[in-house]
Amino acid sequence: MIIERITIKHWRGYRNPHTFQFTERINLLVGRNEAGKSTLFEALTRVLFDRHTSKAEEIRSIQPIASSLGPEATIEFKVNGIRYRARKRFLQNAISELYREHSSSWELIHEGDAADAQLRQILHGEAPNRTAARPEHRGLAQALWYLQSDGAIQKAAWNEGVREGLQGLVRLAARSPIERRVLQQLATCYQEYWTPTGRIASSSELSLVIRELPQLEERLKELSEKTRVLERYRADLEELRQSLAEKETELAKAQKELAESSQRLREVEALEREREAKERADKEAREKAERLRQEATELDQRQRKIQACRAKIKELEESLSEINVQIKTEAELRDRHGRRRKEQLEPAFKRVERELHALRALEQSRKLEKDRQRVEQHVRRIRQVEKQLDAARKQRRALQAPSDKDWRRFRALHQRLSVVEAEIEASAVRVAFQWDGPTRQVTPRPNARQLGNEEYIVAEPTEFHIEGVGSVYVRSGGAALKDLTAQRDELAHQVNQLLERFKAVDAEEMAERYEQGRELERIISTLEKNLEELKAAEPDAEKELEGIMRALEEEKLASRGLSAKIRNLTVQGIRDRIASREQHRKRMLREIDTERKAEERATNQHLELVQQREATLSRLAELRAEARAHEESVAAILANYGTAEHLRTAVAASNEEARQSSAALEAFRADYMEKVTTPKRLHQQAENRVRELERQLGDLRSEIAATLARIEEAAAQGNYSRLADTEIELTWKRHRLEILNRRAHGVRLLHNLVLAYEQKRSAALSGPIQELVNRWLRLLSEDRYDALEIDHDLQPRHVRMAHYGADLPIGSLSYGAQEQVVVLLRLAMAVLLSESERNLVVIDDRLVNADPVRMRRLCLILQEAAKSCQIAIATCNDTPYAGLGANVIRVPQDGHADAGT
């Protein structure tokens, strides 16, 4: 298929109709970025492969922004020499029309879905389900059209659709519809059993049966095991019954033996009775002899004991006398020590202690006296200072001296007043009277300041009344003098107020009062500081003094008992005396202690002796009682026999009697064992045997009953029918598995064989492709690479480096080099697929990364390819393609707006 013309409108940037003409050879679509070059190829793709009724996102996105008009494109193309026109509008008023040229006019041959289907058929595309057409739907075009929306190289293997498309390349080459249907059906059959990766499909019946079989086998195993358990029970039961039969036989035999031995027993009863009589007689004789022996023995023992008791009693009585003497001695010793201690030593010790106590009190009182004096003096000093302070404060209060502030104010006023007066004086009118005659009295009204004799300062209008003459009126110095006067008056008033306040007559007195006040302040400050120091040195001195006084009183009381001589001793004398009394005291303590210990020893000894005497007395009483008891027993024994000699005689006689009786019994017993004992033993054994067998039989019967119950219980579980049903189901499943396995492997065999043949065919096809690509690759890379390895899916895998003879993975080439390799591959595929008819190859801006040298070589290759194919190249820059002689289509200008379609 080759394309002749495209008209596009309402399509992305193409709001108005644009028409582009193509030639059969190389067409160069030149335009800036986003001029609409790729949009033209998009329109080509959508018209050929998408459903006109599609509302997929990709279709909606081609509508121009803010437009509701349906995107529309019309393509005129040629297939097998026949010209077709396809018109398709999407979204709004969607249409699809396919026309064929017939006698220079266009004949509508299909429209709607039929037109869509027919258009797809041209390049053997497939209908998308609900999405827009993707590369796998484009049939041949996915291999021949290298669009911007495709990656440089498929990262993974072609997906199923693409692979089928490539395989479709093979199938398309075969061009057999039946073959295609068969292969499709085969693929369907294959998918019933296998996944694309060759595993059993988990949703298939085969997988289900495979999963179910182990469960059934497990169930069968369990049920079979239960059957085996039942068999084991039966085997156990058989053994038990056999054992039971054997035991019953044994029991019968044992019972027979028992009956026989019982008969024998009856025969030996008489012998038994004789034996018993003899034994009784022998026993009596022996008992009698024994009794007499015991009595004789006892008699001897008791007599010996009586003698022992008497000896012991005598000994104890002697001992008792000695003890009494010792007791008396110890008591006297104890009393003596006690008396000395209490009557002599302890009183003397107390006296020494009292003296020591008094001496210490005396010593202490001397110390306290010193403290008293010191503290008293301190207290007096404090009081004195306090008194002085009070006086100074009183004086200060009485003084009424001005404070520093008052004094500064007074001075300031006074100074100002002086200044003002001076100014007044300077400004004031001086009036002096000089009399030629007698002096007359002058009285100024108001009073004026008189400077000297008959000289006055007049600061204000003043009348001088001269006695006998009249008055002279003098005016002041004007307004300024008036102000000064007013100031002076004011100042004088304030000064006078201050003077009055502090009862000073004048400034001098004021100063004097101030100085006095300051002096008093200094005195008060000094006194306060002294007082503070005194109190800090001895806080609570008065309380301390009180304490000392009390302590002193107590010590004096304690030392009252001392003689005057001692009381008059010096402190050192007192200390010496104390030391001497201390030593004496210690001596006395030791002596008292010695006496006390001696007394204690004597007391303890006395106590021991008393206890010993008590014990001896007690023992004496016991011995006497014991001797009495023995004597009574001897008397009791001899009462039956008279004397001890008689008793001994009786003992000898009974011994002889017993000996004779034993001899007779022994003789009887000699054959008794054989006649009586053995049959009895045998009879007992037979009885035991029968009892034991009966017990064993009972156990066996119980066990048999239990085993029967277990069998009954096991049989009641209904396992037999379940086992049968499980066997049936398992048989069926295995049979089914066999069939499914055979089918699955059969379809896989067929599938793999078909695949192998297709791969062989595609390999056959890829051979020529390989050859062409390799030649072009050598040209393009200047023999750097001499081969491109293509796999059976026609995917480029490696390039071979000629110099090293090593393979380089495609992915390790630069992006631009990868694109160039893919372009070569697609051109080669296109050349071979175009043997019978030219096909369109699209290269959408895929050579931008080629350097100038490579571009020139690429152009040579393009020229060669263009001999077989129609080529459409989109680019921003047509300069590298200058030598191609291509049909240059300016996008979008050359696609000028069409008046209509």
Binding site: E712, Y720, H745, G746, L753, A756
Partner: protein, 377 residues
Amino acid sequence: MSVKFLHTADWQMGMKALQAGHRASDVRAKRFQTARGVAELAKRENVDFVVIAGDLFEDHDVDEAVVRKTVAVLESFAPIPVYVLPGNHDPLTPGSIWDRQSWQRVSDHVHLLVDAEEIQVRDDVVLYPAPLTQKRSAIDPTAWIPPRDPNDKRIRIGIAHGALDVLPQRANFPIAASRAHEAGLDYLALGDWHGFAQYGKAVYSGTFEQTCFNEKNAGNVVIVQISSAGQQPLVCPHRVGELHWLELEASIRDSSDVGRLRRCVLEGGPLSVQLLRITPLLEPGVSPIIIEELKNLRAELEQEAFLLDWPIETLEIPPARSMSLPPGLLTDVATDLNSIIEGRIPEGPAREMAGMSPDVVREALTLLYRIVSEAQS
């Protein structure tokens, strides 16, 4: 005075019926129904007693419900005495089915023959049972039967379970074919063989309901009349079994073969009681139309028959060399597959697959032809 009794054997109650597939439980249930029919027959015929010559039960392990139901059926024979002989499936062994409490509760008219000793049924009729006490043995269990005393005018009936030495498989409990004659028996009631067969006075009643395919003459009980000691017994088999087991293998080429197959099946009686196992052998080149007819027949039988064992796989078109395939890849594939079937190693891509199982290869080829056939139609 004559005696009339019913002789049956091999009830095999509780049997697994593996060949009945998913209808196994129905087959088992059917046997109880048939057994009740035997009781009714015994009453109708007014027999003096009933003899069950062994294998009343299929196995000692049969479900408790089976024992209870069997006991219930035997109860329905009352007041006719029933003599039950332990067989090789239910021998007298410790913990056997005869020890079950449900069996112990059976009424007094049912007698389990536990000892090899003479049993007097009437003054003039005695039984000589040979109960089996184990599953397998090479000893003739009837050897103990004493010969007739010349003065003994009673009717002597032997009851045994085993294989007459005239039968093809006589390894287990072999019984001398001459026993009846040597022991002076008027009748030897036998069990073990599932089809009715008579060898002089030794008679196999067969099982009253066929138990699997390939059992001939099964489904009967026998009514026996003996007029007096020494007289020939009148042996009359009665059909009581309902189910009909039929196994057919039919070569199919055309419609007439299909028709013949249909007629064979219908001759067996109503489909509702037929258990069918059918294996059609399709001739190479059989047409799809014939396949379709067979499929229809199969669908009909599947719906109507009691059980149909006819795998659908048997209706796959067999691969035929004469079937034309489109030239190219498909023909190449078919050629390779045929080569492998014929034992040759093909060249090319199929070479590696030459070792595949022939069944798998045939399956592949069959599939190919089927798909091609469908594509061409």
